[in-house]
Symmetry: C2
Subunit: 391 residues, 2 copies
C-alpha cells in the first residue's frame, strides 16, 4: 500500500489560524476594545423568503409517499437546469443546452474534481495571488504549475504571455482575492491564447452577480470561441447566501473537444460514477433563487454588500490609496499604507483600530504588500471601519 505522496508536497496554510490567534491575543490584552471583522469571506445575510419557502415545501414533499423523491439524475433536476439555462440566456445572452449544465454541491467541489478528467502531464497556469484551491488541487495530482504575475503594473489582471506554454488556465473574474474584473477585450485575448495553444480555461465565475457595470462580461461564454476552450464554474454561495446550503453548477460546453473526446462526456461519466446529485430539497431552494420574487430579494442583499464595498472603495480613493475591486466585487484589495508589508499592516490595523482584514501575503508572493477587506459585514461596521481607515 502506497499513499499518494503528492499530498506530502502540500504546504500547510496557517493564514486563517494565525489571524485567529493574533485576534485572540489582542482581545485578551484589550478586553474592552471593539473588533471589526472585515476579513470575512462568508456571507452574513440570511436566505431570502422565496428560497426558505421552497426549502420547507420540498422538505414536506419528501415526507409524503406520492411526492417523495429518491435518486435524482446526478447532473441535477431538469427544473433547476432549465432555470440556469434561462438565466444565462436572459442575463448574459449565452445559449446553453440542458446537457451542458451540471448541478453540484458547490463550485469548490467541481473545481477540485474537474481535474479527474485531465492527464497529470498537463502544465497548469495559475495567477499569483490566488484562491489556494487552484494550486493545492494540482499539487495533489503532481501537475507542473507555472504562475502568472498579477501585480499593480497590470492592475492584477494578467494577460497571456505567448512565451509561456500552458494546458490548463485558471481565471477568476471578479477575482478572489483582488476583486479585479476582466473586461471583454482582455477575456478575448485569453480565449484567443487558449484556442491557439489548445489549452482549456477553467473560469471561476463565483462572484459574477456582483458585476454592476453592464460592459463587463459575467460569463466566459460571452466571448466568441469560448465554448471550444472553456469550462465555467458558478455557485449560489455568494449570489444567494448558499455557503451553508450548498449548491453550485458547472457548464461544460459540448463544443469543447480534446483529441476527439468531448469533455462534456468525460465530466458526465465522472459525475455519474463518483457523485449522486444534490439534495432535492436544496435544488428546489436554488430554483427559487431564479423566481421573480427570488431575484428581487437576492438583488437587495447583493446591493447591501455592494453598498459596503462602495464605502470602502470611496474611502481608499479619498485617501489616494491604490486598490482594485470594490466596484464590481465584494472584495477590496489595496496597497498597505506607508509601504508596510501585509502582516505588519495587519498588526497595525488590529492594534491601532481593532480592524481585522486579510494580509495579501496569504494569497501569494505578489500580495506581500497588499491587503484584502470584504463587504460582507454590516453597514454599521463597514462605516466604522471606513472612519478608522480615513483617520
Amino acid at each position: 500500500m502506497k499513499i499518494n505522496t503528492n499530498y506530502l508536497n502540500l504546504n500547510e496554510s496557517y493564514l486563517f489560524s494565525t489571524i485567529a490567534r493574533k485576534v485572540n491575543e489582542y482581545k485578551a490584552q484589550n478586553p474592552d476594545k471593539e473588533i471589526i471583522r472585515l476579513g470575512i469571506g462568508d456571507v452574513t445575510l440570511p436566505l431570502v423568503k422565496p428560497v426558505v419557502d421552497a426549502l420547507k415545501k420540498a422538505s414536506g414533499e419528501m415526507g409524503i409517499k406520492e411526492t417523495f423523491r429518491g435518486y435524482g439524475d446526478e447532473q441535477g433536476y431538469g427544473f433547476l437546469r432549465e432555470a440556469i439555462m434561462k438565466y444565462y440566456a436572459d442575463t448574459k445572452r449565452v445559449n446553453l443546452e440542458l446537457s451542458e449544465i451540471f448541478v453540484s454541491d458547490g463550485a469548490k467541489s467541481d473545481i477540485g474534481n474537474i481535474l479527474d478528467i485531465f492527464s497529470k502531464d498537463n502544465t497548469v497556469l495559475i495567477p499569483d495571488p490566488v484562491y489556494p484551491v487552484y494550486a493545492d488541487t494540482n499539487v495533489m495530482d503532481g501537475r507542473k504549475t507555472v504562475y502568472m504575475q498579477a501585480t499593480k503594473e497590470n492592475n492584477f489582471l494578467p494577460l497571456p504571455d505567448e512565451s509561456v506554454k500552458a494546458d490548463i488556465i485558471y481565471l477568476c473574474s471578479p477575482n478572489n482575492p483582488t476583486g479585479a474584473v476582466y473586461n471583454r477585450a482582455q477575456l478575448t485575448e485569453w480565449v484567443g491564447y487558449a484556442l491557439k495553444n489548445r489549452a482549456v480555461i477553467l473560469f471561476d465565475a463565483a462572484y459574477e452577480c456582483f458585476v454592476a457595470d453592464k460592459s463587463l462580461p459575467t460569463s466566459i461564454f460571452e466571448i466568441e470561441g469560448a465554448k471550444e476552450c472553456a469550462i465555467e464554474f458558478c455557485s449560489f454561495s455568494k449570489t444567494a447566501g448558499f455557503t451553508g446550503t450548498r449548491c453550485g453548477y458547472t457548464v461544460v460546453p459540448k463544443a469543447l473537444i480534446v483529441d476527439g473526446t468531448p469533455l462534456n462526456k468525460l465530466w458526465l461519466r465522472r459525475q455519474t460514477t463518483k457523485f449522486n446529485g444534490v439534495s432535492y430539497i436544496v435544488q428546489r431552494g436554488a430554483e427559487a433563487v431564479f423566481s421573480p420574487a427570488g431575484q428581487i430579494e437576492i438583488r437587495r442583499n447583493i446591493e447591501t454588500y455592494m453598498n459596503n464595498a462602495n464605502l470602502l472603495d470611496s474611502a481608499l480613493a479619498k485617501k489616494d490609496v491604490y486598490h482594485t475591486g470594490g466596484k464590481n466585487s465584494p472584495y477590496i484589495w489595496f496597497e498597505c499604507f506607508d509601504g508596510m508589508e501585509s502582516w505588519a499592516f495587519f498588526d497595525y490595523l488590529l492594534t491601532r483600530y481593532g480592524l481585522v482584514g486579510t494580509p495579501g501575503a496569504g494569497f501569494g508572493s505578489n500580495g506581500k504588500s497588499f491587503f484584502r477587506l470584504t463587504a460582507f459585514n454590516s453597514y454599521e461596521n463597514t462605516l466604522k471601519a471606513v472612519s478608522k481607515l480615513l483617520k
Copy 2:
C-alpha cells in the same frame, strides 16, 4: 492539453438502459398487462416525520439572521458527528473519536473520492459480482485490479487468498448485489490478511441497518485490529430513505497509518481542499434519524422492507432455489430457474409474469446465471411477485 485517457478504458454499462428498453417494448406489445418492478435499488417509503420536521426547522433557521449558518466545517457539524459517534458506541460497541468521522453527501462520493489519497501504483482487489463503482473508479485512475471470485461454492462470500497480493480491498457487507453478509470469523480473516499484507480494506457498510441477526457484525471496526487497516463508508440512503436527500459518512481511524502518514490526516486535507461540507439543513435532518422518535420510525420502514425480503426468501426456499440475501439484506440473489442464463431468465420473468428484476450478468461474470430482486417495492406487489415465482 491531454485528457485522462484512462477514461477511454471504461466500459459503458448498458444494464439499466437495456432493462428499460426491454420493459418498454413489452409494455407497448402488452398494454393491459401489469408490470411488477423488483429491480428497484432505490427506497420508496418517504422520509419519517422527525426528519421532515428537522429539515423544515433548519430551513426556517436559515431565513433568520440570528440563526443563519454560512460555511460549516467541511467534515460536518459536531451535532451530527456526535450522534454518529453515539450510534457506533450504542449499537456496535465501537468507540470512535469525533475527528475520525467525516460527514459527506453520500457513500458513493466518498468511495470514489477516497482514491485520491492512494497511489496509482497500488493493486486493487474487487469481488465479482460487484457494485460497479468500485471497479470504474479504479479504471479512471489506471490502477491494476484483480478480482476475487464470489460464487455459489463460497456462498458469495470470498475469503482471502494468500497467494494474491493486494493493497486496497473492497468489501461490501451486507453485499450489493448478492445480499450475502460476512460473519465475525470471516471478517477476522480479512482483517488478518490486511494487517499481514499492509493492505487497506475499504468497507462499504451502506446496508448495515438491514442486519437483524445480532451475531453478525455491522461494522468492520467490531473486529479487533480493523482500526489499523480499514476505512468504513456508511450512508443514510437506505437506513433512512435519504437517496434523494443526500447524506453519508466515512470513518477513517486515527490508528490507520501508512508509511508513517495517518490516512485520517490525508482525507481531512482532501475534504477541506475539494469539498465544502453538506448542507446544514440536510445535516439537521440526518441528526433527527438518531433521535428516539427517528429511530422508532426508521426501524418501522426497515421492517417493512425486510418483511418483503423475507417473503421472497421464503418463496425461494420453498421452491428449493439456491439463494443468498433476503434475511439480513434488502437484496435477494438467486440461481436462475432451470439453468437459464440471467438475460434469458429476465426475458422469461418479464414476458411470462410481467416481473422485472436485474440480471446477474450486469454485475460481473459470476452473476451470469444469477438474478437480483429487491425488497423496496410495496408489500402488495411483493406478494404478487411471490405468487408468480411460486407458480
